[in-house]
């Protein structure tokens, strides 16, 4: 009797198509974003996340049209990220129908953007996305993860756990945490990373990167302490439906919306 853990399919979108990469590269086409959104909505997805991975800024407006079309047919929360650089970008995405906007690289380059966007539109619609990679413990035996930006290409020197706490203090309402080591591998979430961040912040954490089977989703919640689990490829190619994933989680004692 209470809040359900969420399952969030993620749609990486470029040039109007959903694609899926492995370790942030090697893209494979997965279909039409509006059609896929409708399918996940029918299957009982709790939210949808769209990441605009278009490299150039030429086609940025395409994602706005896609979100407008999805928002007119799908009545669950929509998060959109990718290329958000200024408060004006947040405004445009919200006006197109996004409920939350995810900020990644620009949060590192300009942390004030997170504070400004949260101050203007409320923390409830500001998600900070963190791409993290495990690094050596620097003389200690504790795990440490570094924040990367620019789609995982650029190291920042920032500690992922400290960064998440800082983003919460600036007004992030949620953290979308992706393990770069696991993304696309299908070996499961980085549970130590997920748990370290989730236990360190008071805002919800979405675990991302590495889901290959339904047990991984269960582990993300029970061992990683995530409030929500995000996955792409296991859903895109019809391997599992959202419904199957939720039934599996429910069988393992996790409260879900069925």
């Amino acid at each position: 009797m209470g809040l359900a853990k969420r399952i969030i399919p993620c749609l990486d979108v470029t040039n109007g198509r959903v694609v899926k990469g492995i370790n942030f590269v090697a893209l494979r086409d997965a279909g039409d974003p509006v059609e896929i959104s409708r399918r996940y909505d029918e299957q009982g997805a709790d939210e949808l996340t769209f990441l605009d991975i278009t490299a150039s800024s030429d086609n940025r407006d395409l994602i706005l049209r896609i979100i407008e079309e999805v928002a007119a047919q799908v009545f669950i929360p929509l998060t959109v990220g990718g290329g958000v650089r200024q408060v004006e970008d947040v405004r445009r995405l919200l006006n197109a129908g996004a409920d939350k906007v995810s900020i990644n690289t620009s949060a590192v380059q300009n942390p004030q953007l997170v504070a400004d966007a949260a101050g203007h539109y409320g923390s409830q619609c500001i998600v900070v996305a963190i791409d993290a990679k495990q690094v050596s413990g620097a003389g200690t035996d504790t795990n440490r993860w570094e924040v990367f930006t620019h789609g995982g290409r650029k190291a920042t020197g920032l500690d992922a756990v400290e960064w998440a706490k800082k983003m919460q203090s600036l007004g992030a309402g949620e953290i979308l945490l992706t393990s770069m080591d696991r993304d696309g591998t299908r070996n499961g979430f980085d549970l130590a990373l997920t748990r370290a961040v989730s236990d360190a912040v008071d805002v919800p954490v979405i675990a991302s990167g590495g889901v290959g089977n339904l047990q991984h989703l269960v582990d993300g919640v029970l061992q990683g302490h995530a409030e929500a689990v995000l996955a792409a490829s296991i859903f895109h190619y019809g391997e599992y439906s959202i419904r199957q994933a939720k039934e599996y989680m429910a069988q393992h004692g996790i409260e879900v919306r069925l």
Partner: protein, 220 residues
């Protein structure tokens, strides 16, 4: 004449609310407006809101909307959503601001996450974000076709504490019981977001656009 006016005081994205209402009432004219005249002329009023309550109260007053909101809440089918529920009460812990005072009670912050645990001993995060069960406390036309304990989408850090049990239309648990919907005469207000709550949410909005509250002395 406008069938449904969604009050826009510059706090939050109202596109989702208007799209969902257009979806359930395709023949109605649905207008997002900050014009008090349009609000006064509308047959039904939706009062949404996001962000911080002090800003919401300030922006509403800056646009001269307070009297139009009070009139609508006293005279026609009125649906409050999220901050639009909280603002109906007397005071809020958020900035110690005064609300509209239409309903007795106050708005309180959830305790810090460390002070709240779920059944597995995991700390409960704030904001309360996601799909929670809505337990119906009364029978009401807006609950028609919705089973009690159906899940709706929530995102909030503050909740309302009513001064008396009379207006409570539903409650949820996080982890303690809190009021998530109130009903009084022509007013219905919810903490959750029906416009983002899939089939159950659309059913509630459909019930609202058809709702004919019984008025006794409320003619405007």
């Amino acid at each position: 004449m406008t069938d449904i006016a969604i009050i826009d005081y510059g706090m939050g994205n109202l596109r989702s609310v208007s799209k969902a209402l257009e979806h359930v009432a395709p023949n109605a004219s649905v207008v997002v407006t900050s014009d008090p005249v349009v609000v006064r002329q509308a047959a039904r009023v939706v009062f949404p809101g996001q962000g911080a309550m002090p800003n919401c109260m300030h922006e509403m007053d800056a646009r001269g909307l307070r009297d139009a909101v009070l009139d609508a809440a006293a005279s026609k089918p009125f649906l409050g959503i999220c901050l639009g529920l909280q603002m109906l009460f007397e005071t809020s812990e958020e900035g110690n601001v005064q609300g509209l005072g239409i309903l007795p009670g106050k708005v309180r912050h959830f305790p810090p996450a460390v002070a709240m645990q779920d059944a597995n001993g995991q700390k409960l995060k704030v904001p309360h974000m996601g799909w929670n069960q809505v337990h119906q406390a009364i029978e009401h036309p807006l609950w028609q076709g919705i089973t009690t304990d159906a899940r709706f989408y929530f995102v909030h850090s503050y909740y309302v504490e009513t001064a008396n049990p009379e207006p409570v239309a539903a409650y949820s648990f996080y982890p303690f019981q809190f009021t998530c919907a109130v009903a009084k005469d022509n007013i219905f207000a919810v903490q959750f977001h029906p416009e983002k709550s899939h089939a159950a949410g659309l059913t509630l909005l459909g019930n609202f656009v058809r709702w004919e509250p019984n008025f006794t002395n409320k003619a405007s």
